[in-house]
């Protein structure tokens, strides 16, 4: 991908906010909608976490936005204050007491948390590991995000994307026809890419970033599946169904599950996408209220397994190049995929130099959970990204490899803004280029 394509895509994102529809909700409607989400999602596990918090502030030290700025407002658990207040006043066992000594949240307060739960939280989950009480803060931030989205208080970029998805069935300009066109182009170049086959063992997703910025991603996945003689197909509607700016509640998971089950898929494989992976791997079964009939894997996980099982052979890249691996938060810390991508790096003949914070404690690239969509958050994103940049520099490696195209986009734009000359590569594309003959 060249710099012009990157700049054009970035320019497109910068114009998103202006296209957001105007909200017509009154303050009381906003509050009612937000509280409805909070009441629906708050359960005993969140209650136990909210009740256990000691206000020790240690979670701040895990958050890249706090570490980068030193601003106390970025303390992770502080970002769920409205949820905590609703819990204590309306749900918790001491609600009769809290109603006497605390006041209710307001729509204006909710709106003031927009910056804290969207611009300055990527739901990376690093704070979840730091808390000495074991409090899982990022799932509660997710409740806050869903509550604000329901109250039409999500950032303008998210609202614009949602409106465009509803009107055009395209996400970031990518729908069924764009995916089919890319597949046809790759097939015409000699790498067969089946789309919407009636039956397939593997259902593969394609994201808007794959189409708009990283088309080699699909080409590489196709090469790998074809080399393994896998029965596979791309889901033509995958971009519109996963929806970059959509919250978990808005993604049409029942339709995705139906698409997979109708085809008799044994595996649903997500591309290099930290947005789609947790949705399908962990949330889909709970949305359906039953175990899924198929297994869900990320492509890096699939590749690593095939290599470890001896089914996928790679030609080592000459020169024993030193690289460092960035664990995408939602796939690594959020999904336990650590060993498989490292097995692929090793099979590629690369020398892996780990960052100080890697694996479960790795820092986020600072643009996850749709943060990269928010134009006004660019400076904050860059400051937090620089933590990652310095950790990568300290390894001495001149290349960062990752397995998430959102992370890759953040690395590319962050590197460009910081005039950082480290190369950023996709694990999938490296593997796709090194298959044995």
């Amino acid at each position: 991908m060249n710099a012009t394509t990157l700049d054009a895509f970035r320019g497109g994102l910068a114009g998103l906010a202006a296209r957001a529809p105007r909200s017509t909700l009154t303050d009381s409607e906003r509050l009612a909608r937000a509280k409805q989400v909070m009441h629906r999602r708050l359960g005993a596990s969140d209650a136990a976490y909210l009740e256990t918090c000691l206000h020790c502030g240690m979670c701040a030290e895990a958050c890249h936005f706090y570490v980068a700025t030193g601003d106390a407002k970025y303390t992770p658990v502080e970002k769920v204050t409205p949820l905590r207040r609703v819990y204590h006043r309306e749900v918790g066992p001491l609600r009769w007491l809290y109603r006497l000594v605390t006041r209710d949240i307001t729509a204006a307060e909710l709106e003031s948390f927009q910056e804290l739960v969207f611009d300055s939280c990527t739901e990376c989950g690093r704070c979840d590991l730091m808390c000495p009480m074991g409090i899982q803060i990022s799932p509660m931030i997710n409740i806050m995000r869903e509550a604000l989205t329901a109250a039409e208080l999500a950032p303008a970029e998210f609202r614009a994307l949602k409106a465009e998805q509803a009107a055009t069935r395209k996400d970031l300009g990518v729908g069924r026809s764009e995916i089919a066109a890319l597949a046809a182009q790759i097939s015409a170049a000699g790498v067969n890419v089946p789309v919407d086959a009636a039956r397939a063992d593997i259902l593969y997703f394609v994201t808007p970033l794959d189409v708009q910025l990283f088309p080699d991603s699909l080409r590489s996945a196709a090469r790998i599946f074809n080399r393994l003689n896998a029965s596979w197909t791309v889901l033509g509607a995958s971009a519109e169904l996963i929806g970059t700016g959509e919250s978990s509640a808005e993604v049409d998971i029942p339709r995705i599950v139906a698409e997979a089950e109708q085809r008799g898929a044994k595996l649903v494989i997500l591309p290099e996408c930290g947005h789609a992976y947790p949705r399908m791997r962990f949330e889909a079964a709970n949305v359906m209220g039953r175990a899924l009939a198929f297994e869900v894997l990320s492509i890096s996980e699939y590749i690593g397994r095939q290599i470890t099982d001896g089914k996928l052979k790679l030609k080592p890249i000459p020169g024993k190049e030193q690289v460092t691996y960035h664990d995408p938060c939602k796939i690594g810390r959020g999904g336990g995929v650590f060993a498989e991508p490292r097995a692929a790096v090793k099979a590629l003949g690369l020398e892996l130099r780990e960052m100080e914070s890697h694996g479960r404690t790795g820092y986020c690239c600072a643009g996850g959970a749709g943060q990269f969509l928010i134009d006004r958050a660019q400076r904050l994103r860059q400051r937090a990204f620089e933590i990652k940049m310095h950790e990568a520099d300290d390894t001495g490696a001149k290349t960062v490899v990752t397995a998430c195209n959102s992370c890759r986009y953040n690395f590319l734009t962050g590197a460009r803004d910081a005039n950082w000359h480290t190369e950023v590569k996709s694990l999938l594309e490296l593997v796709g280029n090194q298959l044995t003959d």
Binding site: E51, E61, K73, P93, C131, V296, G335
Partner: protein, 220 residues
Amino acid sequence: MSVLDFARGPAFHVAIVIFVFGICWRLVGIYLLRWHPDYSRPRRGGLIGGGVHSMVMRSLPPHELEKHIVFQHVSGYGWHLAYFAAFLLFGPHIPFIRQFLGFGWPTLPNAWILALAAIALTLLLVLLIRRMVNPVLRALSTSDDYISSLLTMLPLITGIAASAHLQLLGVRYETLLGVHLLTVCALLIWFPFGKLMHLFLTFPARFQAGVLLQRKGVEA
């Protein structure tokens, strides 16, 4: 009725009732809320083992996280250990505890107990001051934090005064002991309403986190 008689009698009984009933009320109110079942395929088995592992290992975070919180960790665990040692290993406390449990245990010399109490009190004071001046802590703090700190310190202060037989403003030892017991009553009464409940909530929360992360294949 003297201060000591009041403290040992009605005040203590009321405090115990509120303490026990309040703890039960709060625990039941939390854990009887609905649990959302998790239907996703676990990445790893041994969910219970993951929970137990987390109960222990949350105290020992990996170096890259720990290096930012060394002071909080050392001071936090330090005052807890000193506080409980001073409470549980002080000779005059043992007959009192024996009334409830029916058995006792060896104790430490009074000088050691005074030193432990002084360490706990100093650390508590340092942490309280830190809470008031550190921007993160100041923003997070609620009245619960200050009330809980104060009520935790008061038994230490009055206990030191009573055990040292300090003739504060000419107050008799029995009265000092009564005041010490009243501060214990205040602590017991406040306990179910504030953050002191973490004595009962911490390990279940750690277990819960351990099970969740084990499902995802991540060490908690």
